[in-house]
């Protein structure tokens, strides 16, 4: 397997408290590899430590112990001047854009190039290229105050790409944007990831962002990674309660109101119907498994709700069905043998 672009190895971050009341542990023994050229999402609630974790990649935060390896450099141990070199290989975008109000779009994008000491002629050529890349040619000499949120984030992205980094860090880049604009910014990130082979590490509190663009995900809770892997695998088999709660409402479907009201944890009679959530993964997502359950086993299936969407570029389906109690175990076995996941949500009648 290829070297990971970023590797956290036993990373712990403690903040000493005033008055010696013991340290606050922001991150505890984090081990995580961020694959080269992929989009990886770190999801967690506010205060979970995701922001601290992200800032370790470009040395804005340093680990108390453990190592953060980025493009082969040990960031935590780098000297100030070595760190400045590493930072030019790592772009960063922010929730509140952090654009200079006193500079135009073009001048904002030029800033990292000026800092890196690029000569003015090459700066203007590169800036023009970047502005075209993010689709802001008409706004070149506007000031940030004259731009919409989505346009500001495009400037932020162009600025982050200016020095040709290999890694892009995104700190809640879409959290201040409306759903349409979020969509556009995520599409742009996906495009540059594909076109430039750029490794993107993003933090978010929205599972929808992970679903839409991340091929890999790590779930962080109280300073610890509780679950990590390919988005697809984590979404289809969430093991940690935090992951499950993030997934609610993002994948699959909800039990319809009229059924939810009658749902019981145990069947009231042998004639009851079991309400089962079926998750379709991988190639099975497109197989007509329910039709086969009916035709081959003679089980009548009552479809209550369902949806198929794309996660990590693979189809991901979720159905809620009613199955006769008498045939429940047999049906579940049949479906699981064919690679589907089933979960009994409750019983009706």
């Amino acid at each position: 397997m290829a070297e990971p672009a970023i590797s956290f190895q036993g990373v712990t971050r403690r903040y000493p408290q005033k008055g010696g009341a013991g340290d606050v542990v922001a991150l505890q023994d984090i081990a995580l590899d961020v694959p080269q050229g992929a989009i990886t999402g770190i999801i967690g609630r506010s205060g979970a430590g995701k922001s601290t974790l992200l800032r370790m990649v470009n040395g804005l935060e340093r680990p108390s112990s453990g190592q953060v390896i980025v493009n082969g450099h040990d960031v935590g141990a780098a000297s100030d001047s070595a760190l400045r070199g590493i930072r030019r290989e790592v772009g960063m975008i922010f929730q509140h854009f952090n654009l200079l109000a006193s500079r135009t779009v073009a001048q904002n994008i030029a800033l990292p190039l000026e800092i890196a000491g690029v000569d003015p002629l090459n700066i203007s050529r590169r800036v023009e290229e970047l502005i075209a890349r993010v689709g802001l040619t008409a706004q070149t000499s506007r000031y940030p105050a004259e731009l919409s949120g989505g346009q500001k984030q495009r400037v932020g992205i162009a600025r982050a790409l200016a020095t040709g980094p290999r890694v892009l860090l995104s700190d809640e880049a879409t959290s201040a944007l409306d759903p349409d604009t979020t969509r556009q910014v995520l599409d742009l990130l996906k495009d540059i990831n594909r076109d430039l082979g750029l490794t993107i590490l993003l933090i978010t509190h929205e599972m929808a962002v992970v679903r839409d663009i991340c091929s890999h995900v790590a779930v962080i809770e109280a300073g610890k990674i509780v679950e990590a892997g390919e988005t697809y695998a984590v979404f289809s088999r969430p093991t940690h309660p935090t992951t499950r709660s993030f997934l609610q409402g993002v994948t699959g479907v909800a039990v319809p109101q009229f059924v939810a009201g009658q749902l019981r944890p145990e069947p009231d009679s042998p004639q009851a119907e079991a309400v089962v959530q079926i998750t379709f993964t991988g190639r099975h997502a497109t197989d007509p498994m329910l039709a086969r359950l009916t035709s081959e086993r003679g089980v009548s299936v009552n479809i209550l709700a369902g949806a198929i969407e794309e996660i990590g570029d693979k189809p991901f389906g979720s159905l809620i069905v009613g199955l006769p109690l008498a045939r429940l175990d047999e049906s579940r076995r049949f479906l699981e043998e064919h690679g589907l996941l089933t979960e009994v949500l409750g019983y009706v009648g």
Binding site: L60, R84, F94, H96, N98, L100, E114, I115, L169
Partner: protein
Amino acid sequence: MSANLIPILWESLLQTLYMVAMSTALGTLIGAPLGIFLATSRRGELLSAPVLNSVLGLIVNAARSTPFIILVVAIIPLTRLIAGTSIGTTAAIVPLTIAAAPFIARLIETAIREVDAGLIEAARAMGATPGQIVRKVLIPEAMPGIILGLTLAVVSLIGYSAMVGAVGGEGLGDLGIRYGYQRFMPEVMLAVVIILIVLVQLVQSLGEWIAARFDKRAPRNRGR
């Protein structure tokens, strides 16, 4: 008011402008670096030097809490050392500068502290050195605030310059006291006051105009 007072008023105005301009320029020369340092050197900040920050902060506060008229006489030996004399318009520039520098330092510190910390973080993430952050981010972003602060300093110095008559500083304030008060010529006093009002108005309007030119934070009204 007799016509022969006009040249005296004119000469006094020029003396005032000379003192204010010189002390603003010299005060900024000392106050600006001091203000930038004060704004960036607390613990954990860009140029983190908490001890020096506290010491300089203390000196600035001490200078600012000394009443100006006391400062003028207290530093007469220093004035004589620097200007060669302790009397006259040029000599008056010394106490004016010493009063202006810490004031300007605090005004610039305040303006720089107004700059969003997110911008400093963004610049650090780009690999900027502390010097680059000061030059390319903090000063340009704080410029509207710095200009308004300097305007306030100039207006204050116009007021202070009226007090340096005590050490033979001349200028409009001195003229007002000597002719208007000591020689019972209220029309001179009135003329001085009116000139000072106009002068302060001009300085304030000019400062606000320049600051607005630098301020890109609000969308401009286009097509007017």
